[in-house]
Symmetry: C2
Subunit: 236 residues, 2 copies
């Protein structure tokens, strides 16, 4: 439902399409970063970790380009209503994708660090958590491409799956740490990887909020379901 | 140096002033959250921690209000150049302040969780790191209020102080954990608090980038100094 003021449709719609395709391209780069970080998790390859850290700069420049693109659109086209929301959405999604790249790179570095421990700690459910947040990232980008508010809402509502898995993995890592007290550092890295993956899940949920907003014009104001009790003193 | 296209100066400048003062008010709320989280760190008071977590919702609604304010400004005033940068800056700073509130709330929860351990782990340099990032947050908001690019650059360039302190605290926590292997969970919480504070420092640096951009019209593109080697396999 387009309610924006009249504009030279073809030129502006072209510009919005280019913006959207820049976001999709950036999302592809973030997904690749995440895939490689997950590979690093099972292979614990310092060489691959270094590559991932280096290619993180690519996401930074993607974000700068998208921001510049949005600024140009705002100045030249002065969009309103739906079109303005599209531009603001692109700014916000690019910010989330950049942070996802950071979390992936940090996870890869830590996976390589765990790799140097001779009898390294168990991975617990980390690859499973990685796959879950990877799927959610793909789904939310699909929802963005299709401007699909229902899909966005579905993703937003199932955020607690990530939190529940994260909480159980955190407990598993704590148990493993208690059983092998000489390997604090390795368990620390595993815990930080779990946190990074959970944060990637959060960013996918944030993107779902943005997609919902851009599709419906309404913000998602309810409290998101929360199942992360990893800080609960009872579980501390 | 104002280079924007002509507009009804008084009304628009008033609106921008109101936007800026909304950001300053939100920053005040984020600073209060952080102060209370730091109090929690030394007092480890579960009651105070719960209050901090509850008042985090205030920062979320601040962010929504500022975003709505920015959207209205973009639609009604169609700003360009400096003025457009001001609006985009407000959007980005509000996003960072909201994240700062999250990190403060998470730190408070974890501090309370550490508190339940009878022989709790040492705090290492956490209060010092807390004060450092608190000062940096105040400075960067001052730089924003004064549109002071030099101050923003100074803050941006000294980001490595936070990273260096974080790295040394992480090492201290690891040593303490190795010495008291039955207290993995407490050390884990301390490490996560350190990470939260370091992230708050990162957000202050991100705000410095935004202030620099809004003051000069130029992005800060160089690599930020990095002294965080906490993931270095050598320190793993």
């Amino acid at each position: 439902m387009k309610t924006s003021a009249p504009h030279i449709v073809s030129a502006f719609e072209d510009a919005l399409k280019r913006l959207k395709s820049a976001i999709v391209q950036m999302a592809g780069a973030a997904e690749t970063q995440l895939d490689q970080a997950l590979t690093c998790l099972t292979q614990r390859n310092p060489e691959l970790a270094r590559e991932i850290v280096l290619s993180d700069a690519r996401l930074d420049s993607f974000e700068h380009e998208i921001e510049a693109h949005c600024m140009r659109l705002l100045v030249l086209r002065q969009p309103v209503a739906d079109d303005l929301r599209e531009v603001i959405a692109a700014l916000k999604i690019a910010g989330s994708l950049e942070r996802i790249g950071d979390h992936a790179a940090n996870s890869a570095k830590r996976a390589a660090a765990v790799g140097i421990f001779p009898d390294s700690a168990p991975l617990a459910g980390l690859p499973k958590l990685g796959r879950l947040v990877r799927e959610r990232l793909t789904s939310v980008i699909d929802a963005y491409v299709d401007t699909d508010s229902e899909a966005a809402l579905r993703i937003w509502r199932t955020d607690d799956e990530v939190d529940a898995l994260y909480t159980s993995i955190a407990a598993e890592i704590e148990r493993s740490a208690a059983a092998t007290p000489d390997q604090f550092a390795a368990h620390m890295h595993l815990m930080m990887i779990a946190k990074n993956l959970e944060r990637i899940g959060d960013h996918a949920t944030n993107i779902a909020e943005v997609v919902y907003f851009v599709s419906t014009g309404q913000p998602l104001l309810d409290e998101r379901p929360k199942a992360d009790r990893s800080c609960d003193p009872a579980e501390g």
